[in-house]
Amino acid sequence: MHSSFPHPFGRNTVSVLGGITLHEEHENCEDMARRRRRVPHTDLPYAVLVADDEVLIRSTIVAILKAEGYDAVGVKDGVAAVECAQRLEPDVVLADVSMPAMNGIEAAKRIRAALPKTRIICFSGHAESSDLLVQARNAGYHFEFLPKPLKPEALIEALKKKP
C-alpha cells in the first residue's frame, strides 16, 4: 500500500509544523505490521492507522503522530483502510468520512466488525458526512468524531483522552 504518487513532495523530505519532517514515503502497512510482530506487544507504542484521500493531510498527520511517539501509517481510501486494519490490528483508526472507493463510515463499520477493541475516530468537514455518522449511530455504531479542519493539538488530545 504505497503512496499513489511516486514523488509527491518533489524531494525526499519537507519540514512542516515547527520542525516535524514530512517524508516522501512513509513505511507501508505491510512493513509496519511485520516490524511490530517482531517486538513484544508491551514494548510497542500505540499503532495508529490514518485513512485520508488527501495526501497532504494523511502524510502530515502521520508525521505529527510519529513526532508524538506513536507508530503511524497512512492509507488513501476506505478499502485500503480495511485491508490495513486487518493486517496491522492498530490500536486506533483515524478515518476521514469522505473518501473514494469506500467511505470512512463503511470502512469503520467493517473494521469494528473485524476488530471490536480498536478505537475508531472519524473526522469530517462536510454536512453529508455528518449525516452518515448519524445514520451509523442510529444503526448502533458509536464512532468518536473530530471536526475538520483538523487541529493537530486537538487530534493529539483526542488520542490521549480515554474513549
Partner: protein
Amino acid sequence: MKEAPLILVADDEPLVAHTLVEILKAEGFRAISVTNGAAAVEWAERARPAVVICDVMMPTLDGIEAAKRIRKLLPDTEIVLFSGQAASGSMIDRACAEGYTFKVLPKPIRPDLLLQLIREMTGMESTK
C-alpha cells in the same frame, strides 16, 4: 539576484495550507498561506503574488468569489482553483459562463502536478 516568485495558498484546512507552503518553499518559491477567501483577497492585494492557489469550498468568502475579486485587482496574477466536491464543480461552471477562466485542478491535491503547473506559470525551474 531576481526574487523567487511569491505563491499565495488559500485553503481552510490548515494542514493542507501549511504543508503546501513548506513544499513550495522547499522548491525555491516564496509562499504564504491564508485559510479563507476574504483573507486571500486581502493578502493578494497586499502581497501581489505571481500565483494564487485557492480551494473552492472555503468559509467567509468562497474560492470562486475570491478568485473573481483577485482577477479584477491583479489581472496578471495566475489563479489555480482546487475542486473536490460536485458543488464546487457547478460553481466553477457558473464562473466560466460569466467569462472567467481559471486553471482548475481536481482534489485530492497532487503536489507533483501542482508544482509542475506552478513552474510552468512562473518560468521557475526545478531545484532538483
